[in-house]
């Protein structure tokens, strides 16, 4: 038994579980991982990369719309939030998605200050997630380079809050 691989696999699993436990990811991320196989080993990384690009673009355009207090284009901001909420939901970016919910509420009542706070928060959250996932993908790479396979399932010792529990079945 290759203990280096086993150690890396354990590290990977623990880290992944922690991301769920801390609320960064939800079940949809598990769904994305199901779509990855030996033929498409970079699928998840590619999708989240597109998502982060999306975040950056949308945050920039919403920032411009919110810039001048006397002339805020709330329709544009709302559109941006809607898109961000949709794509964050599609990749399992739970915290980002949750900020979008508050963001939408601020938009609905045309609360510019609230929108600016949410904008800042969503920017923080997506960047944080980006860093976390990069660490996860690095671990994945290390496993592969050491000749091991990426664990697909969660370890049985995992006890997760029901609301963020990923699907533990195959």
């Amino acid at each position: 038994m290759n203990t280096v691989v086993a150690k890396l696999q354990r590290q990977f699993q623990d880290y992944l579980v922690s991301l769920y436990q801390q609320g960064f990811l939800d079940n949809q991320f598990t769904e994305l991982r199901k779509l990855q196989d030996e033929g498409t080993p970079d699928f998840v990384a590619e999708v989240v990369s597109l998502f982060f690009d999306d975040c950056s673009k949308l945050i920039n355009s919403m920032s411009r719309s919110l810039e001048r207090p006397e002339n805020v284009d709330f329709k544009q901001v709302d559109s941006g939030v809607h898109q961000l909420k949709g794509s964050s939901s599609s990749v399992g970016a739970r915290r980002v998605k949750n900020v979008c919910i508050s963001f939408k509420e601020c938009c609905d009542v045309q609360n510019r200050e609230g929108c600016l706070r949410c904008l800042q928060q969503v920017d923080y959250e997506y960047k944080m997630l980006k860093t976390k996932l990069q660490d996860l993908f690095n671990l994945e790479q290390q496993i592969v380079q050491a000749g091991g396979a990426i664990p697909q399932h969660f370890p049985s010792y995992t006890i997760l809050r029901p609301d963020i529990r990923p699907c533990l079945d195959a």
């Binding site: 949809q28 769904e31 994305l32 199901k34 779509l35 498409t40 699928f43 590619e46 999708v47 597109l50 998502f51 999306d54 329709k75 709302d78 559109s79 809607h82 898109q83 909420k85 949709g86 794509s87 939901s89 599609s90 990749v91 399992g92 919910i101």
Partner: protein, 235 residues
């Protein structure tokens, strides 16, 4: 406001009969389903495309309803005028995908003729469910072709827009037309119509062909049953 996307797929055998897109004859693969996926979100397009490919569907993904029509060759006056005589588009099932879990809206989609409704984010199980319809539908279709009513429904662009049709973004170099995924139905046999999955707000423009598809679809008596299968709100 950003729109949701959609997926539609047409059965290749039907597309071939109509000669859409100048397709050349090729051996029919009854299990092959070509889905036309429509979604304005790139992330969602990539995900739905992968979900469909994994379930053995051929996929063409587009980013708008207009591109969908373009892909189907229905983006001109002549095409829409000829639509009445074409049976294949009438039989294309449409499945709506949306992140909004509003029952009245979902019901309206189904009443307007959508075969099924998928709540976003879409999961593998959702697509597998749809895929199982397709296989069954293809097998049944050869034995029991649904005939069009003698009085064809005129295409009327002034009708209120139905749920956004699926949009197709040509992502593959294949020239074969999109297939429709038949909707899933747990109870009675599903209508033998092609399936389109589209997620879009109800206010999207377009769709002469959608009107056509929607009006010719059999009444979805299974609607209440389908509704029961819908997932609870995500938030």
């Amino acid at each position: 406001m950003a729109r949701d996307g959609g997926v539609s797929c047409l059965r290749s055998s039907e597309m071939m009969r109509v000669g859409i897109g100048g397709m050349e004859s090729q051996p029919l693969d009854l299990d092959e389903v070509h889905v036309l996926a429509v979604d304005d979100s790139l992330v969602d397009r990539i995900v739905i495309e992968r979900l469909l490919r994994i379930t053995s569907c051929k996929v063409t993904a587009v980013d708008s309803g207009w591109r969908a029509l373009e892909f189907l060759g229905l983006d001109n006056e002549k095409a829409s005028a000829e639509l009445d005589e074409s049976s294949s588009f009438r039989q294309v099932p449409v499945v709506i995908m949306s992140s909004e879990n509003v029952l009245t809206r979902i019901d309206r989609c189904l009443e307007e003729g959508a075969e099924d409704f998928l709540l976003k984010p879409v999961k593998l199980a959702d697509v597998k469910r749809l895929r199982s319809y397709l296989t069954r539908d293809v097998k049944l279709s050869n034995a029991n072709k649904r005939k069009l009513p003698e009085d064809s429904v005129p295409v009327n662009t002034s009708l209120p827009p139905p749920p956004s049709p699926f949009t197709i973004s040509p992502d593959s170099s294949d020239s074969s037309p999109p297939m429709t995924i038949s909707p899933e139905s747990s109870d009675s046999s599903p209508p033998l119509s092609p399936l389109e999955i589209s997620s879009s707000p109800l206010s999207t423009p377009i769709d002469d062909e959608d009107d056509d598809v929607l009006t010719s679809s059999p009444a979805p008596e299974e609607s209440p049953a389908r509704r029961q299968k819908m997932r609870s709100p995500l938030d």
